[in-house]
């Protein structure tokens, strides 16, 4: 009796096949949106799980990101006597990059993994098959509500993250390091542009990241082999694939939106 050796496969082909299947799954999800409206309560329930339940981690991380950023900037800018601009730089960095990207990474770790594990276990315990047998479309009842909930929750969570980061920056810069309160806000409001920084930065990016993370999480859950090892691998793949997709997509979006 010998242990089964892991099969060596063509990695590139495997990744391309996964991307192709994921794209087809997206079409299935979108086609199921009208049918999933019948299960609107399920969408709101999922919105609570992936959105409201992620608030604590998002708010805490947002606060500390803003605080650290201000601390670093203050020390660098003080060399050039430009500490009054630190509030503005914190805001721009958070709105344009850190807010959407860090929120998405946290969302993938907190909500994405739980979506994958939950759907994977539902598959492993025949719950998905049971729904099929009860003539309930599992894509419309399980997958689409989670996808939509992620899509709706991400921009909202990103706004909360950004607000907490600016608050953290203010806390360190103004309360602790002594930057003038008026200078902090006036520099920020003078430079931050609603369309470029808020709409393109916060909302558009986070919407795109929300779609990608939710899609990957739901896809991995639905296609996982129905074993405990399969669910564990799928959960890991959700984090890895989401993180790579977020950073790659961030570069593409930034290049087009700048």
């Amino acid at each position: 009796m010998t242990a089964r050796k892991p099969q060596r496969r063509n990695m590139v082909g495997q990744v391309l096949a996964q991307i192709g299947s994921c794209g087809l799954f997206l079409l299935t999800l979108l086609a199921a949106v009208p049918r999933s409206m019948r299960h609107f309560r399920e969408t709101t329930r999922q919105l609570w799980f992936v959105g409201a339940m992620s608030l604590t981690i998002i708010m805490t991380c947002g606060l500390f990101v803003g605080m650290v950023l201000m601390l670093q900037l203050y020390h660098v800018l003080s060399i050039f006597g430009g500490t009054s601009a630190s509030g503005m730089v914190v805001a721009l960095a958070v709105y344009r990059e850190l807010g959407p990207v860090v929120t998405a990474l946290l969302f993938a770790g907190r909500a994405g993994t739980s979506i994958t594990a939950e759907i994977g276990l539902m598959r492993a315990t025949d719950q998905i098959d049971a729904m099929e047998m009860m003539a309930v479309d599992p894509v419309a009842y399980v997958a689409t509500p989670r996808f939509l909930a992620g899509l709706i929750a991400m921009p909202l969570l990103c706004c909360v993250f950004c607000a907490m980061a600016v608050f953290g920056g203010h806390l360190v810069g103004v309360t602790w390091l002594g930057i003038d309160n008026g200078t902090f806000w006036s520099n920020m409001t003078a430079v931050v542009d609603v369309r470029t920084d808020i709409v393109n930065g916060v909302l558009l990016k986070s919407l795109a990241f929300g779609a990608v993370v939710s899609l990957i999480a739901v896809f991995q859950g639905f296609t996982t082999p129905p074993t405990s090892e399969g669910v564990a691998y799928a959960t890991t793949r959700t984090v890895v694939a989401s993180s790579i997709a977020i950073l790659a997509l961030d570069f593409v979006l930034t290049a087009f939106l700048m």
Partner: protein, 278 residues
Amino acid sequence: MTQADRSQPDDSPLVRIRGLTTVLNGKTIFDALDMDIPRGRVTAIMGPSGTGKTTLLKHITGQMRADAGEILVGGRNVAGLSRDQLYKLREGIGYLFQNSALLTDFDVFENVAFPLRQHTRLPEELIRNLVLLKLQAVGLRGAARLMPNELSGGMARRVALARAIVFDPGLILYDEPFVGLDPVALNQVLKLIRTLNQTLGITSVLVAHELEAVKQVADHVFLIANGKVVAQGSPEAIAADGSPWTRQFFGGAADGPVPFQYPAGDYAQALGFPGVTK
């Protein structure tokens, strides 16, 4: 599957299987299998483990496609149905899963109410009464607010049974309904299957290994092995059939046409005694 299918007085089979051929991972599960499941009766499908009894149920409900052959349920070819048509057909079929497959997010009551909530717009009061009626029938009305992880295996199967019959479907497929039941629960489940059949005319197909239980409830038994029906008839007739298949299966002997061992290489060689032959 509709009420009309159930009340039709004709003797035509409700499920007609012709030339069913299925190959899974290179192993032939069904080899041109023919089977007629009579309408309004309790039919048991028996056979050694791994002969494809559950697979056969999955073919009947369209969960799995066969490599060849056709399955007609209520006169409709399952393989030719669109997704919506298949779902419509399944609304009239109850299915008891081998491992219960209860929805773990919902309590017992909501699990049984799930099909009603998804397919009807019945008032809450009526849903409550229907669910309690079914839970009372399986002896678990008092467990309505327990979560699936608080149930024993036998209790979970009875909840799954209540869910399978909540619509009073025209056809119920039971996959191993007697596993994990204590003698009292077993007796009650047997009575329930019989009552559903006699009072509502529900066609029941059950996959089981317990010959004594099958004798009490089934009108007709199919014994399948090696991808074909090797014996069929009433439970009494099939038990007294005397063919090598039935003698070995119901006698429980290791030697005979039903192999106990999964196909494998030479035993002595596997143990490291290459010189030893049978």
